[in-house]
């Protein structure tokens, strides 16, 4: 195990003022457990303060730092240098922004656009079921909750949409449809018809080719494909 690595980041940059795009190499010494967000910060502090990258929580709970590293969509805050070296078998890393949303500058994308897909499925209870005990909580059997609670861990980092072979061509994308599937499985939701109409529409789940790339790349390790499969089979309850 090395104590540190000399790594090269080939970062795809974009300048919105000149509309120019280029790849810039940064070579630096990085400790083995620095994460890629730490490496970006090190670049800002030591090499180039102008490199723009995005993050918020930096512990995999918000999904802001999603980037492509050697083609794989992932969260930069979770990628330790030594793991990256082991995983990709190299010390040279191509880093680019995710492509499901327009780039604003360098690695920063316009999340607002990416989220439009999620907004479309209405990620809330559209029509609440009758509550047998008004003024109290609904009773939900923990076994029912168990069936869909995994899907509620999604942070909308869009790594799945990025990896999905269909989401670049008319498919709402795995995370967006999963948000609707959750509500179809949630006993508090009554707007089944409206939800199914969108799920089975032109941009719905039948665009999915079951490559299962979504489950493969999900940083939260959610089996997204499983939920899409349930929806294809109509097994919501």
């Amino acid at each position: 195990m090395e104590n540190s690595y000399t790594i090269t980041l080939k970062i795809k940059r974009y300048d919105p003022d000149s509309k120019r795009s280029w790849v810039q190499d940064y070579e630096l010494e990085a400790g083995r457990i620095l994460r890629f967000t730490d490496v970006f910060r090190k670049i800002n502090n030591e090499l180039d303060p102008s490199l723009a990258w995005n993050s918020s929580c930096e512990h995999a709970q918000c999904g802001t730092c999603a980037v492509r590293v050697n083609g794989k969509p992932l969260l930069a805050c979770e990628l330790l240098v030594e793991n990256a070296v082991a995983h990709f078998g190299t010390t040279v890393f191509g880093v680019g922004p995710i492509t499901v949303a327009p780039v604003v500058r360098d690695l920063i994308v316009d999340f607002e656009h990416a989220y439009e897909r999620v907004n479309k499925v209405k990620p809330y209870i559209i029509k609440p079921a009758q509550n047998p005990n008004p003024g109290e909580e609904y009773h939900i059997d923990p076994r029912d909750l168990e069936r869909y609670v995994e899907a509620t861990r999604c942070v909308n980092c869009f790594c799945c949409a990025e990896a999905c072979i269909s989401s670049h061509k008319g498919f709402l994308g795995p995370n967006a449809v999963m948000a609707s599937i959750v509500r179809l499985m949630d006993p508090r939701e009554q707007a089944e018809e409206e939800r199914l109409e969108l799920l089975y529409s032109e941009e719905g789940i039948y665009r999915c080719h079951t490559s299962m790339a979504c489950s493969f790349v999900c940083p939260k390790e959610i089996d997204v494909a499983h939920f899409i499969a349930l929806a294809k089979a109509g097994k919501f309850k």
Binding site: N3, S4, D15, P16, D17, A30, G31, R32, I33, L34, R35, D38, R41, N44, N45, P49, S50, W53, N54, S55, S56, C57, E58, H59, A60, Q61, C62, G63, T64, C77, E78, L80, E82, V104, R105, I108, D110, F111, E112, Y115, N119, K122, P123, Y124, I125, N131, G135, E137, Y138, H139, D141, P142, L145, V149, T152, V155, N156, R183, D186, R188
Partner: protein, 598 residues
């Protein structure tokens, strides 16, 4: 570059909410549900509200279920008062705790995925400092959504704002408040993606801008928690309160700063120093690792300070170890899988076989923008600013006083968010207003200074020096000479910051420019934190003075601080509300100035 800045547009709305975390969004939903059609604009610094800091809250949400046969709101009030080290305001404690359960039901009914017990009811767990019958036994009072309660809150609120119709201005910052006399009438917003300045005029303006954990070297806070709300208020010539009241969690994971929860110690984890000595025996011979949070945090810092820490070369942070190697596989796999998962993921360590690096981590800022019980911003202890509200971590009403209990923070966010929303509706009838001609000038002079700065200094390095200084001198241990030194050094750092030359002078998504602005905010809040700590010659809650280790009654007040020019801090006082005690109702004596002993 010498380019003259200008206001690109002026927009009108009813309510402007700056900050899109739990408090800001709860406020928005309250208004949108009660008054459909109200034009609410919410500004967030992050790419989307779902990326707000609230989403990282793990543990739970304290609220007494009225059906609970043994728990009572008065116990929760007592715990909060005692936990605050008698520095919270009792009118706020009463207001928040009495309506807490209604909030829980509201969230559940609007789709939050709370964890359930076998009967399908909301599960409840215990949390430090929450007791039954005034300290007799642990209370099962915290409802939760697994280990992501904050995320459940934000997801639910975001969904509701979508349903009701709101305008979001994402990836944007508020650089200046706009006033007409004593009334706030909106703010200047800088939209990062477009590089445009917009005046958003509003009948009511709500600040929900989050905390300031980035003042310190190790923090659980998000990258964007740079004390912006506090700095914005100071810039307007208004006071901030109890800035010296900062909460440190004893065990943050070196690297990401996230919490290695108390559970690790309660299941038998042992803290060790460089020599692998189990040092807690020296600090708390009986309780050892199970001693209260503040004591454990001070023990760890003492070890580091006295040279018995270990340096992590990658993050350049000194730390101690928590040893979990002796615990059974069952404990690892069943009782502490989430936390040990963090060590695996972020530090590449297998806690079954290796020692885990931890250091106290700044977790929460109890201090903030002073408000009354409706979240209305105060100009002084007696006077309000009309049409301006502050809620959430950037505000101090104050529910937490000098120390916050676990699970009380998100309760406060959502409750004060709702209350401020209700109150903001009183302002909807006022006439819409035109901005004064000079609105924006303050922003432009600030940004010109940033753009025209020349020299060899680097933003990141100054920020790091400031964080190290704050950690060492204004952190867990504070002392007269160290605080004076910190204040002087902060002034030097401020001077050095004028010699930063931005390498990128564009206005469009210029992260460097934003970081420059954040540095300005961080330095302003830092110096007030240090000044407040210097003035408070006692120890209370999160504020610990080595030279004055006891709490003193003469400091039973909130610190109000103004700063008109960097370093020129004027301190004032706001009394602590003791209305529960003064009402002389049942158990009133529990709400006197009592000892904080557990």
């Amino acid at each position: 570059m010498g380019k003259k800045f200008r206001i690109n547009s002026t927009e009108q709305c009813d309510v402007l909410i700056i900050g899109g975390g739990g408090a800001g969004l709860r406020c928005a939903v309250e208004i949108l549900q009660k008054r459909p059609g109200t034009r609410v604009v919410a500004v967030t610094k992050v790419g989307h509200v779902q990326k707000s800091h609230t989403t990282t809250a793990q543990g739970g949400l304290a609220a007494v279920d009225p059906r609970d046969p043994i728990d009572k709101p008065i116990y929760h009030m007592f715990d909060t008062w005692k936990g605050s080290d008698c520095a919270a305001d009792q009118n706020i404690i009463k207001k928040i705790i009495e309506s807490a359960w209604d909030q829980i039901v509201w969230f559940e009914n609007h789709g939050m995925h709370f964890s359930r017990d076998e009967g399908g009811n909301l599960s409840k767990r215990t949390f430090g400092g929450h007791t039954l019958n005034f300290g007799e036994a642990s209370a099962f009072r915290a409802v939760f959504e697994a280990d992501r309660t904050g995320k459940g809150i934000v997801d639910t609120l975001w969904g509701e704002t979508l349903r009701e119709g709101i305008s979001f201005i994402n990836q944007s910052i508020a650089t200046e408040l706009i006033f007409r006399g004593n009334r706030c009438s909106g703010a200047v917003i800088f939209k990062q993606k477009e590089g445009r300045f917009v005046r958003v005029m509003a009948k009511a303006t709500v600040l929900a801008m989050g905390g300031s954990g980035q003042l310190f070297r190790v923090t659980t806070n998000c990258r964007q928690n740079t004390g912006d709300g506090l700095a914005l208020i100071l810039q307007a010539g208004l006071p901030i309160m109890d800035t010296e009241a900062v909460q440190f969690h004893p065990t943050g994971i070196v690297g990401p700063g996230i919490l290695a929860s108390e559970t690790l110690r309660s299941v038998g984890g042992i803290l060790r120093n460089r020599d692998l000595e189990a040092f807690m025996e020296r600090y708390a011979p009986k309780m050892k690792e199970l001693a209260p949070r503040d004591l454990v945090a001070r023990a760890i810092e003492s070890e580091v300070r006295e040279g018995r820490g270990v340096l992590n070369p990658d993050h350049n942070i000194e730390h101690v170890w928590i040893d979990l190697r002796h615990l059974s596989d069952h404990v690892h796999d069943v009782q502490i899988p989430e936390v040990t998962g963090f060590f695996r993921k972020f530090v590449n360590i297998d806690p079954k076989k290796e020692l885990c690096p931890v250091r106290p981590s700044v977790h929460y800022h109890m201090g903030g923008i002073p408000t009354n019980e409706f979240g209305e911003v105060q100009k002084s202890a007696e006077e309000l600013i009309s049409g301006l509200f502050a809620v959430g971590e950037c505000a101090a009403a104050s529910f937490h006083g000098f120390n916050r209990l676990g699970t009380n923070s998100i309760l406060e966010l959502i409750t004060m968010g709702k209350i401020a929303g209700e109150k903001a509706m009183d302002f909807l009838e006022v006439d819409s207003n035109e901005p004064p001609g000079d609105a924006g000038e303050m922003t432009f002079s600030l940004f010109s200074r940033f753009m025209e700065g020349e020299g060899k200094e680097n933003i990141g390095r100054i920020r790091q020096e400031m964080q190290t200084l704050m950690t060492e001198k204004v952190g867990i241990f504070r002392k007269e000479d160290g605080l004076i030194e910190a204040i002087e050094t902060l002034k030097e750092l401020k001077e050095r910051s004028e010699n930063i030359s931005l390498s990128n002078k564009s206005l469009t998504m210029n992260q460097e420019l934003i970081q420059r602005w954040e540095l300005e905010n961080l330095l302003a809040v830092s110096i007030i934190c240090a000044q407040g700590a210097l003035n408070r010659r006692e120890s209370r809650g999160g504020h610990f003075r080595e030279d004055f280790p006891e709490r003193k009654d003469e400091f039973n007040y909130h610190t109000l601080a103004h700063m008109t020019e960097f370093g020129k801090v004027t301190l004032g006082e706001r009394p602590v509300d003791m209305s529960i005690y003064e009402a002389r109702g049942e158990n009133y004596e529990k709400f006197a100035v009592i000892e904080r002993k557990y």
